[in-house]
Amino acid sequence: MLLKKSADIKSSEITPKNLYLNRRRFLAGTAIAGAAALAGLELGEAVSPSTVAHANTKIEGLQKSPFSTTEKITPYKDVTTYNNYYEFSTDKDGPSRLAGNFKTRPWNVTIDGLVQKKQVLDVDSIIKMAPAEERIYRHRCVEGWSIVVPWVGFSLSELIKRAQPTSKAKFVEFTTLLDMKQMPGQRRDVLQWPYVEGLRMDEAMHPLALLCFGMYGEALPNQDGAPLRLVVPWKYGFKSAKAIVRIRFTDSQPRNTWNISAPTEYGFYSNVNPNVDHPRWSQAKERRLGEFFKRPTLMFNGYDQVASLYSGMDLKKNF
């Protein structure tokens, strides 16, 4: 049983009520898990009663971010009923119907590969690693639609720094939960499960890359990738893996799921790029949900500050 207790779990001062309650749940979960470990049971079976509906739990003390856009935020209802989350369904309105009972606590994230500190962390201890920020980002789907979402989280680099990757680590790989019981979409092999995504180390360390656990000031709804997801705003949406259970550091470029599915259509980089079309459709324009006509798509989804990551690279070849 690889369940680490975070060191600060006992401190109760200046703790927002909700986070405090989460800790209580975590402690309870840890206790049950410990007992289960003694009894030789699987964690998932042992703590099944502690299903916690975390959506609508307010996240207090959010810091504003200079990375936020001032564009009009897409309504919460749209962002929670129009989801590409094939683990639940290939229909846009499927995840909101099917993810209601998805268990996001207890939730462990394995950090391994080329790091000094291989460890299994509880998601609540990850959430407390750094102050939560609200980041209002544009989000562009490879299908040609876009939204503006006030995500909650902190830079992925905060976690990476703490994991202390070795000098050999050149890429980071993110794996989504594999659980056919809870994720009915995984019973069909529309994609190779579990879902895997990856970033180059410098991309992952870029301050814009967000480790996300909330949106609209609340905990992340299940259909939007709870309890922990990635948000990489200058890349197409599928790069932002949801329900992450493993973060692995590697020396070779990981194969990401959509690239395995259709190598000529979805590359490893998948930067938003109006000049490089999807083989079957144009990427020059996008439909912002709520708008009537399409609007032009911006290079790197308007996040020009990442351009230097790709200087000298042929972005048509490295699509």
Binding site: K77, Y82, Y86, W145, V190, R280, W281, R287, F292, K294
Partner: protein, 212 residues
């Protein structure tokens, strides 16, 4: 029976449009209403094409010759929904830019094949009247109207080529269409007695007409 039921069938065929209208009015078209309308009209185009193509097998196998009286209306509804489908693309996706549409047609194979399927339905809709059947003559009219086979195949391929990974729905259309076309192939290949029945061209069998 056909006479009084025709208006009812007509109203039923407007059902999908009414459904969209109601959803638009009640604000339940979802987060991406334009996509929803595009997909719905595309779906119903294919459904009406398949229903139209099933008239002949069903009326022959079930010996219900009167069914043919609905065929023109059903085919025209397929055309009606494909026109809506195309108009949404023209207005909301391409903002009336014929230049952009042409670029799309040349470059995107799912649009190439979909657009071809749409174009093929235009002469069929135009020549759907009794006057045109007379003007063309039964045989030529029928030969022309076999374009519906190509159009339906194009429509299904259009759908297959645009989905990202989940091919279930387009494959359902593909299977149904294959069955309907296989019926024609079987009838066409089967040796048949020479005694041709005298029929109205509109009701005549595709399979009873020799290829020109």
């Amino acid at each position: 029976m056909v006479r009084w039921s025709k208006p009812l069938v007509f109203l039923a065929c407007l059902g999908p449009l009414a459904g969209l209208g109601w959803r638009a009015y009640s604000g339940s078209l979802g987060a991406n209403p334009i996509e929803r309308i595009t997909h719905t009209t595309g779906d119903w185009t294919l459904i009406f094409l398949l229903i139209t193509l099933s008239i002949t097998p069903v009326r022959k196998l079930a010996r219900q010759p009167w069914l043919v009286r609905y065929r023109r209306m059903l085919g025209l509804f397929a055309f009606f929904y494909v026109v809506l489908h195309f108009l949404i693309y023209l207005v909301l996706d391409k903002s009336f830019s014929m230049h952009d549409i042409w670029a799309d047609v040349l470059k995107r194979r799912f649009i190439t094949v979909g657009f071809a399927g749409f174009l093929m339905l235009i002469p069929l809709a135009v020549t759907s009247t009794a006057g045109w059947i007379r003007r063309l003559g039964g045989k030529r009219w029928q030969a022309l109207h076999r374009l519906i086979y190509a159009s339906a195949i194009a429509g299904v391929i259009h759908y297959l080529w645009l989905v990202k990974a989940d091919k279930r729905k387009p494959l359902v259309y593909a299977v149904v269409l294959s069955v309907l076309l296989a019926y024609r192939l079987v009838v066409w290949l089967r040796p048949k007695p020479r005694a041709a029945k005298v029929q109205l061209p509109a009701a005549a069998e595709v399979t009873e007409v020799s290829t020109n």
